[in-house]
Structure formats: C-alpha cells, structure tokens
C-alpha cells in the first residue's frame, strides 16, 4: 500500500483492521470500511478496465452506483463468480477476489486496444452497419465480438448462495438516507406513522456525513456534526425501521416497490456461509418519500476518459470519507461551485491542488472566496481542451473561452497533474420517480429534469427535487414532508444555517476544442464508449427521436443505464437539432435501478420450492412401492410401477394386461370433486352440462361434458346424485380449479336466482379405483354386507357404505371399460383402504397401475381425455359424441355455438381411431397425418392425439383428429416421419369391447 495516499485522521475507516484482497491476481491491502474502489485508489491503482469498443484504458470515476468504468468480476469460483459489479459499491472483505472485466489478455496489455487506432473506422452503429452482411455470417462475427466485448463471465455452476424474499407494509417509505431523508423519516416516525428508511450505503448520512466546511454550518456546528447527532436520535424512534445496504431496485404503480438488501456481501469469506446473501423486500407503502439525492455530471471535452479523471465530488468523498488521496497533484475543472468544496477538502488534507479551471466568469460566492483565501489558484472563463497520459493522466491543457463560449482562444496552458476532478453540475436522481410513472419538467436555469406530476401518493425532497443549497434542502424537505403527511412538525424551525450560495451558473454540454470534432474523442457514455461525435453523426443520418438516437448510438444502454451520460446526450441533441431540452424529453428509466442478481429475483423459489407440489393421501404407498411419478398440473401422480429392471413400456404392458385379465388398482384421488347442494342443483347441472340431469335417479351416476360458450369441450367427468338436492361432481385433475371458478362465475353473475352452493371437496376424499373382472370379488371381501349384484348395484350407480365403521361412498363407474369401482373415503383413511384393497386383491394378483396404463386402457375403449384429445377447438360433434348433446334442452352453456356456420362445417377436424398397417409400429403423439406423400407442399389433415401399444389387442392403436375424419373411415393415410412414411388406416375410436360386455363381466 502506498502509505502516502492514505491520510490518518479519519473516523469512517478502521485503520487498525487491515484486510487483504486480490485484484487481477495481485494481493493488496485495504482497511475495514473501504470499498474495493477506495482500496484500489489507496494502492495507487486507477486503471481497472478497458472501454467497451475502443479498449481504451479506463479508471475509477465515481464513488457510487453511477460508476461507469470500474465494472469488475467478483470471485473466481465457478458457482459464485459474479460479473458486472461496481467496484465503488463492493465493501472490502477478507478474501475478496476481483478482476477487470473488459480486457484480454490483461488490463495493462489489451489486444483490443488496436481498435483505438482504427477508431475513425468505428463510428456510431458500426456493428449494425458492418456486420449486417452477409446475414449468415453473424454467427461468426458474434463469437469474436462477444469474446472481446467485456461482458464478464457467467457462473457455470448453480449458485450456492441463499436468497430470500420478504413482504413489508408501511405507512411511509423514505428512500435515501441523506440529510433530507433523515429529517423526513424522523418527522414521519414522530407522528406515529410506521416508517421505513432505506439507504444503499452501509451507513446513513449521504454526503453531509463528511461535509466539514466553514461554508456549511447548522446551529454553529459543522453540518456533518449536526447530522451525526440527528442520526443518533433516530434509534429512539419506535416507529422507525432503518435498513442500510438496501438499494431500491424498482418502483411500480400502487406504491409497490422492490428493494434489495445486502446481508453478507460485506462479510469476510468465512462468515458468509449458511446465511442469506441478499433479500428482496417487496414493499407496499401507503406513502413514499423519495430522497435519492443528485449525481454529479462529468464534463465533455477531448480525451475526458483517461484513468485519473474523476468526478470532483468523488475525489472529495475519497479524501473526506475514506481518507484516500486520488492523486498527489490534483487539478479541478468545473462549471459550478461544488468543485471548490473538493479543492478545500484536498487542501485541508495536504494534497496539492494545482488549480481550479472554471468555465464561468469570476464569481464571488462564499465558497469561492474561501478557496481564494486558502490560496487555491483559479483560472476563470477557461476550458480544458486536451489531456495526456495513456494509462494514467499526466497533464492537461486548457485555454481561455471566447466571450460567446463557442471557441477557445489565446495561449494553451499545460499543467502537470496525476488526477483531474471534473464537475459539470448536478443531475437529480429522478429515476425512481419516472419508474413509477411520474412526469418530469425541465428547469432551464441549471438544466435539470425535476419531478412534476405523479399519479401516486409520493413526493420527492432534497436534491432529487432540485434543491442544491443546504438551507433550501433543510427548509423545503421539512415543509414538503409536513404538507405531504398532513402534519405539523416544527423540530427544524429556527435553525441557524450558514450555506454558501451559488451565484453564477453556466453550462456548455460539449466544450469547445482547438481541434475539429472528428479529430478527437469526447466521451459521453463511458461504459458503452459512445462519443459526442457519435450522437452528432446519428443526427446527421436523420435520427430525430431521442429514443432512436439512444438505440442507434447505444448511449445510455449499458449496465449503468447512462446515469452519467444521458443529460449530455440530450443536451447535445437539443443543441444540434435546435430544440429546447424540455421539449425533447428524456428516455425512460427502467427497473432495476442497479442490476440485480438472478438469485435475488428468484429468492427461495429454487430446488424443492421451484414449483408447488401436491400429493395424494396415498402418495407414501407409491413411494414405498417404487412408483415413477408424473407431474399432472401441480400433482405428483404415480406414473407406473416398474418391477426389477422394467422400463416404462414393459411396466405399462404388464399393468395393462393385469387390469383386464384380473384386477388393477389406481389412485384416482387427484380428480377434482365438487359438492353441489341446493334446491336448484339439477337445473344448474342442466345448464352446465350438455346432457339432461333432472331425471337422474338418486343413487345414480352420469357422465357429463362441459362446454365453453363457444361450443368447445372444456372438461368432463362423472356426477353422482347423492340425494334430491345434493350432487357430487368430479372433474379432470387439471381442470378442477377452473371448473369450480367457472361455475361460481355463472352462479354469481348470470344465474344469481339459482339456489345452488358449491364447495370443493377434492382434498377431503381419497379415491381408490379397482377394476378388472375380479374387482367385485375384492370389494366383497372389503365390504361384505354390500349387495354387489348387477341388479342392486348396476353400472353407473353409487352406494353409501361403511369400511370398519368409517363412512365411504362407492361408485360403480369405469374409465377402463372394465367392471370397476371407485371408493371415496375421507383422505385420512385413504391409504389404509388402499392397503386393505391391495391385501384383499393379492389372491387375484391385483396390480397397481399408474396414469400411463390408465391412459392406455381408456384409449383401447376410445374414451377421450379432455386436454389431450381435445385442445379447445373440438366440439362434442367433432369428438363423435353427438349422443351426449340433449337437443331438447332449451339452453346450456355452449349450445347456441354448436350450430354456428363454423361449427357445422363437415370438414372440421374430427376424432377418429388409427391403426398402423404394421401392428408393431407405435405412432408418435403429435405426428401429422397426410393423405399422400408425393406433392409439396402437402396438406396436413390432422395429427395423432393419443398412441399406445395395446397388450390386450396385441397391436398399436391411436386416436387422432383428422379433417372430415368421420367420412374417411377405412381410408389409408400416411404419418410422415423423419426417415419413413408410416401407413395407417382410419377406424372407429373404440378398439376393444365395442359391446361393453366387460362392464358387467
């Protein structure tokens, strides 16, 4: 560490705690409280990266989130490396490893730097223009461009860190913990409002925290001392929550804000483990006070991008806060008073200030007089015209400005320096205000955009609202807060404030040079390497809209969203095009304010919590019996139960055969179940389903098809009449929630006169389905006193029963075509009943089967699955299910649509069966169907919706939708695949047991 760059009397940095870190492989030291940037500067390292396009050496420029150059890669572990972080925001910790991003092979010797010499050949939109042709070469170009573009490295392994989300509701959110934010938060909290104050730094106070200057005093204290006392009193406020290291990322409508809190990034490497790294706060605030301050602007002149050229206020922070000298001989270049604060701070710390070069005519504000008193040399009405030094600035040249400030005149003065502070005035941080939809207004006197109209309950105070003088900040912040919160706090009345006032203001967006514009480079956007000339070129090429110029030149489109560059770009455009800046408007700032890690956005929704999972009450049995699971919606359903080394096909063939030959058992608990009660229940079902329900006897079940108003099949299922006014409806697994919501919709909005109540009971019942020729024998063993004769308990009927004294409902219904029962019992007993059935069925080789076998068995019978064989474009007629439409009913949902001109077309796609000529050929679901294979293009007639190999028929079967399919029965078709055309024949949809004999077997 170059000792002479660190001053010792500093209370913010703990100079007793030394911290070692690595930068570009080299071990360096800093102190507790440093940022990576301040530690690098203390080590006399300015050069931290190369520019994006020309690969020019770039140094640390700022001290906060607006930093455009010091973009580094942190960590070199494959799982925790993070690109695009700002060295100015990284708090130093033991073990930190960081490296420069945009350079190859190293920051000191960069191959891409040849671009700089060819730079006249790389104008605005160079990449757009050059790599357009030939179009298919882009892949090749892209590889090389990306390699040298400096976009950082992505981690290659999953992120090991833990992230978290938290909701927060408060009365008042204050964003920004500078002097105005602190006062506003205090005023709010003292008025009994639940207040939250957030700041992105590790402590509150903003720039006032280190403002120790005779020209800024409050009640005869230096402003920093006064503010420190204010901060101390905050701890006693009960209603106030303070969150530091928390940066506001997004401000959405309805005062919904997202803030990222850094919890472990500042901790030593070994202290980070098993803790939440970053937390995303989802804040809902009744009122929002924005106190985000202002950013210093750079100045735009020739070669204004060399390492060592920094924002003047940042140099001040490095000396006053971090105790770091950014140079030994510093020059300052300004258009306003704030550079004099820096000059005084440097002077007080024993740093040589060469001179202050000011574009204004001599001015006599308090602070200027103070600087003069200290003997600081000032060149009035002058402008820097060039800088020298390749990897670090070593001198500047400046000249007098002409009276109209359009040219430079007189003798060129050269001044040696190792650092140049620049100050182009201040830009209020209105980013959050505009993110929230607020409209800006332009103030001509100092060229700033300020918050104007907003739809939300919010205000901006302090310098983000355009107050730049200490007394204005204090007075206006408190007044605005009082008014906004409708309170009357007088804590800050009668303060005695000394504040230097800026008397003269002058601004030149693009400073004149002694060289023609095209011969030098004046950088606007340091991160994206766009120059003043690029913007002018874009205008010459005909771009007018600021949004277009921005995209064409990429000004303001880097990871910093042009925090430092946007105002100058606008200024130069306005000037060149001859329009007023206020009329030109500005580009839109979008969230996040600073980049967020993916981890923060995702939070705990990773791994097991990536998606919600639902389990049936019998789930554990399936797990114990080695079932493979399938995701059906959020449900985990048993897919098939492999024995030994069986693959899915083998297991499904075995299960399917067993179910038809003897007995199978299926967990059908996922089916949606809706309890329907009320005197109009039957009428309601008449309107919901396509078939008639009034005459369904108590104790009987009926299959129903539900349509949308457009006539398309929506869902299906069996509904049972439990008593006169009481039904139990089942829905498909995936459709349960939507069906309930749709039915509630009709009851609440279209038919409020109906006396019907719906209650979901999906999770209340577990459903055990046993099927096959031996199912009756098994059920008899379990419920011996139930008469299972076809006469007493025929197909499509239900009985109440008791199993070991527990009430259950047994439905004799079938989705496989086999003799089959479904036992519905409250979920707590479902697993036990399943085990009992399994035990009772052992002598019949009862075989558990999963969803795949269920699908195969129903396909053999030609039963549809809503959502697989239908896709929202199939009417019941298309499905050849005309029998289920009750034409006598006056109305039901979708009825009128069934005879629209489109739905009665004969050439609609209709559901058919398909048999392959080769019975062993299994079609792919989704495969297209054509009638001939020779012509091109060939007409696609339809596609396969379900396809299986049936072990019960010993051949491949499929369901498909085919144009005009009903009339094509017996016709040959082709299913073209990548390597062959498969010949198929269109058939009936029912492949097995057309007479339904098995139902009563």
């Amino acid at each position: 560490m170059s000792k002479n760059l660190r001053i010792t009397n500093n209370k913010f940095i703990d100079q007793t705690t030394k911290i070692s870190f690595k930068f570009d492989g080299k071990t360096l030291y800093g102190f507790k409280g440093d940022t990576l940037a301040s530690a690098l500067l203390a080590n006399n390292i300015h050069l931290v990266g190369r520019s994006f396009k020309y690969h020019r050496p770039r140094g640390i420029m700022a001290c906060g989130s607006e930093e455009p150059n010091a973009i580094v890669q942190v960590g070199n572990d494959a799982s925790i490396t993070e690109p695009n972080t700002r060295a100015t925001e990284i708090e130093l910790y033991e073990g930190l490893e960081a490296s420069s991003q945009n350079c190859w092979p190293s920051v000191n010797f960069d191959i891409g730097a040849v671009n700089n010499f060819f730079s006249p050949l790389i104008p605005a939109a160079f990449y757009y223009k050059t790599f357009m042709w030939p179009a298919n070469f882009w892949k090749l170009y892209e590889y090389f461009i990306r390699k040298s573009a400096g976009l950082g490295k992505s981690p290659t392994e999953p992120d090991k860190d833990i992230y978290d989300h938290r909701y927060l509701h408060c009365d008042v959110l204050v964003v920004g913990g500078g002097i105005s934010g602190i006062m506003a938060a205090k005023v709010a909290a003292k008025s009994n409002l639940n207040t939250v104050l957030i700041d992105d730094k590790n402590n509150l106070g903003g720039t006032t925290l280190f403002q120790k200057n005779e020209c800024f005093k409050i009640n005869s204290f230096y402003s920093n001392d006064w503010l420190r006392k204010e901060i101390e009193t905050l701890n006693s406020l009960k209603n106030l929550t303070i969150k530091t290291r928390t940066s506001l990322a997004a401000y959405h409508s309805y005062n919904y804000l997202l803030a990222r809190e850094n919890l472990t990034d500042h901790l030593d490497l070994n202290e980070k483990r098993d803790k939440i790294r970053q937390r995303l706060w989802k804040i809902r605030a009744k009122k929002v006070i924005i106190a985000t301050g202002a950013m210093e602007r750079p100045l735009i002149f020739s070669n204004n991008d060399r390492p060592g050229i920094m924002l003047s206020s940042s140099i001040k922070k490095y000396i006053d806060y971090y105790g770091v000298k950014c140079g030994q001989k510093i020059s300052l270049f300004t258009n306003n008073d704030s550079a004099y604060e820096t000059a005084i701070s440097l002077n007080n710390s024993g740093v040589i200030v060469n001179s202050v070069i000011d574009i204004r005519n001599k001015t006599n504000s308090l602070i200027v007089k103070q600087a003069e008193k200290l003997g600081i040399k000032i060149y009035w009405k002058s402008s820097v015209v060039n800088t020298s030094g390749y990897k670090k600035i070593n001198s500047i040249e400046f000249m007098k400005l002409s009276d109209d400030a359009t040219t430079v005149i007189g003798k060129k003065i050269k001044e040696k320096c190792d650092c140049l502070g620049i100050s182009g005035g201040w830009t209020p941080r209105v980013h959050l205000f505009t993110q929230s939809g607020g409209k800006l207004k332009f103030r001509d006197v100092d060229n700033v955009f300020l918050p104007d109209k907003s739809e939300l309950d919010q205000i901006s105070i302090g310098s983000c609202n355009g107050d730049f003088e200490l007394d204005d900040v204090i007075k206006n912040s408190v007044n605005l807060t009082n008014k906004f919160l409708k309170i009357n706090n007088n804590d800050y009345e009668n303060l005695e404030i000394i504040s230097s006032k800026e008397i003269d203001k002058k601004n030149i967006w693009l400073l004149p040079s002694d060289k023609p514009l095209g011969k030098t480079k004046q950088f606007l956007d340091f991160q994206n390497d766009s120059t003043a000339n690029d913007v002018k070129l874009a205008l010459r090429e005909g771009f007018k809209s600021i949004e277009h110029v921005k995209r064409y030149t990429t000004t303001g489109m880097a990871t910093d969203q042009g925090k430092l560059s946007n105002m100058h770009a606008l200024g130069i455009i306005a000037e060149t095009a001859g329009v007023k800046m206020g009329e030109l408007g500005t580009t839109t700032f979008r969230p996040p304010y600073t980049p967020l890690t993916f981890g923060t956005i995702v939070g705990r929704n990773v791994g097991e919590f990536f998606d919600t999972t639902r389990k049936t009450p019998i789930h554990e049995w399936h797990v114990e019996n080695k079932a493979e699971f399938e995701n059906v919606g959020q449900w985990k359903r048993a897919w098939y139960y492999p024995i030994g080394n069986e693959n899915m096909h083998e297991a499904v063939q075995r299960e399917s055969k067993a179910a038809r030959d003897s007995a199978g058992i299926l967990d059908a608990s996922t089916l949606g179940k809706i309890d329907i009660q009320g005197s109009d229940a039957s009428e309601f079902l008449n309107r919901i389903y396509t078939n008639a329900w009034s005459k369904l006897e108590i104790g009987k079940c009926r299959y129903g098809l539900m349509l949308n108003e457009d006539g398309m099949v929506y869902d299906d299922g069996v509904t049972t009449r439990l008593s006169e006014n009481h039904y139990l409806m089942t829905t498909t697994t995936g459709g349960a929630a939507n069906v309930l919501s749709k039915m509630e919709d009709y009851l609440q909005t279209e038919w409020p006169e109906l006396d019907v109540y719906l209650t979901s009971v999906t999770d209340h019942y577990g459903t055990v389905s046993i099927c096959g020729p031996n199912s009756k024998r098994i059920l008899t063993k379990i419920i011996p006193d139930l008469d299972l004769s076809d006469k007493e308990f025929p197909h499509m009927s239900f009985k109440n029963a008791l199993i070991d004294n527990i009430k259950c409902r047994v439905m004799r219904i079938s989705f496989t075509g086999e003799h089959s029962y479904e036992i519905n019992i409250q979920s707590s007993y479902a697993k036990s009943v399943w085990e009992k059935c399994f035990e009772a069925g052992k002598e019949f080789n009862i075989t558990p089967y999963g969803t795949e076998t269920m699908h195969l068995l129903r396909a053999e019978k030609g039963f549809i699955i809503a959502g697989q064989d239908t896709d929202g474009t199939m009417t019941p007629v298309d499905l050849q299910m005309d029998w289920i439409i009750n034409k006598k009913k006056y109305d039901f949902i979708g009825k009128r649509s069934l005879y629209r001109s489109d739905t009665i077309r004969e050439d609609r796609k209709q559901l058919v069966g398909l048999l392959t000529d080769d019975p062993n050929e299994i079609l792919e679901e989704g495969a297209q169907i054509v009638s001939e294979t020779n012509s091109q293009p060939v007409e696609m007639l339809g596609h396969v919706t379900s396809s299986y190999y049936s072990p019960n028929l010993n051949k491949s079967i499929a369901l498909a939708v085919v144009k005009n399919g009903k009339k094509l029965k017996g016709q040959k078709m082709f299913v073209p695949m990548k390597d062959k055309n498969i010949s198929v024949t269109i058939t009936d949809t029912v492949f097995l047991d057309k007479e339904n004999k098995r139902l009563n077997a």
């Binding site: 833990i162 978290d164 989300h165 938290r166 909701y167 927060l168 509701h169 639940n194 939440i276 989802k282 809902r284 705990r604 097991e608 919590f609 919600t612 999972t613 639902r614 389990k615 049936t616 009450p617 449900w635 996922t670 309890d675 009660q677 009320g678 005197s679 006014n725 009481h726 006396d755 109540y757 209650t759 979901s760 009971v761 999906t762 999770d763 209340h764 019942y765 199993i803 070991d804 004294n805 527990i806 009430k807 409250q826 979920s827 707590s828 007993y829 697993k831 036990s832 009943v833 009992k836």
Partner: protein
C-alpha cells in the same frame, strides 16, 4: 380397523417460532344467504356466523370463520373423537341443507390445520405472503384468506402470536417444508 393418517404429524421449534400440525380437527364448510340460515346456525351451535368480513365468532368448542358473504368455515377448537365425527355434520345437514336454506359440507380432511406460535410468526408469514398483517395481528379473532408461498391458506388469529393456518391437504406437505425452510432464516 382402518388407520388414520394425517400428512404431517410433526412439530418443530425454532427461535421464537413453534409450528405443529393439529389433527384431527372437525371442519365443516357452511354456505347460505338468508337470514334463516344465520338464525338456524345460531340456534344449533349457539354461535352466530359473523357477517363482518375477515372476522370470526366462537365459543369454547367451536369457531366460525368468515370466508365470504355467504360462506363460513366451522372448526373445532380441540381434537375430536374420530368415532363421533359425523354427528354435528349430520345434524347441521338435516337442519340446513335438507331444509333448503344453505349447504353443509364436511371438509375435515380437505383442510389441514397447522398451528403457528411465537413472536416471529408474522415475520415468517411475510416471507411468502403479500397480505398486510399490520392490523390483523392486533385484532384477536381476525381471519384472512390469502396466499402463502403461492398456496391458498386461511389464517385465523387465535391469540397474540398464536395462529391457526388451514391449507388444503394435498398442498400441506409442500407448505410444511417451505415453512420449515423459511423458519431457519427468521
């Protein structure tokens, strides 16, 4: 005998948070619009179903939670005798549903009740629930239906830092895992 299985059967303790599944609890969904319905329920249970939103009523044995302008959840304060589980349901069904003044549906196994206790329960909820608990936590008996980690839940404020949370049985394992995971970081 059939075995009774609840999905969680567990209790966990963290600093300032204790979570436990409490089952079997009787739960009955009640729906009705008329004054008759309210009166009848009041007569049968000696508790008037609350008509004010987000509130509950109850006595030593039973609670009635407001779920909507025509819907309530009745649940027992204590674990119930599995042999008598249908008595209250049958009685109410006969008086309400059969009398055509509303509906009565047993949902004892549709919902699983999880008790959350401790000073930090609201911080736990805030890690996955968009609902504003600021007023809720001050009001004993308040009720809300909302989302917790994207899952529908009903939350009943029984007492200071003592909540009953109802979640659909099929989601309960997942939510339980999530609660355990989140409690680690509170």
């Amino acid at each position: 005998m059939l075995n009774f299985n609840s999905p969680i059967m567990d209790t966990k303790e963290y600093s300032e948070i204790k979570i436990s599944e409490v089952e079997p609890i009787l739960k009955i969904n009640l729906r009705g619009k008329s004054r008759d319905f309210i009166t009848k329920i009041g007569k049968e249970l000696s508790i008037i179903p609350p008509t004010e939103s987000n509130t509950s009523s109850g006595n030593e044995n039973l609670n009635i939670l407001w779920l909507g302008p025509d819907e309530w959840l009745l649940y027992s304060n204590n674990k119930i005798d599995l042999n008598n589980i249908n008595i209250l349901e049958n009685k109410l069904f006969n008086e309400i549903s059969k009398a055509k003044i509303g509906s009565v549906t047993n949902v004892s196994d549709h919902w699983i009740m999880i008790n959350l206790k401790g000073k930090k329960v609201f911080e736990l909820l805030a890690s996955g629930c968009p609902f504003n608990f600021n007023e809720f936590k001050k009001t004993k008996g308040s009720v809300t239906q909302t989302l917790l980690n994207h899952i529908d839940v009903i939350i009943h404020n029984k007492n200071i830092n003592d909540l009953n949370l109802f979640v659909r049985r099929s989601f309960s394992n997942h939510l339980w895992s999530w609660i355990k995971d989140s409690s680690r970081f509170i």
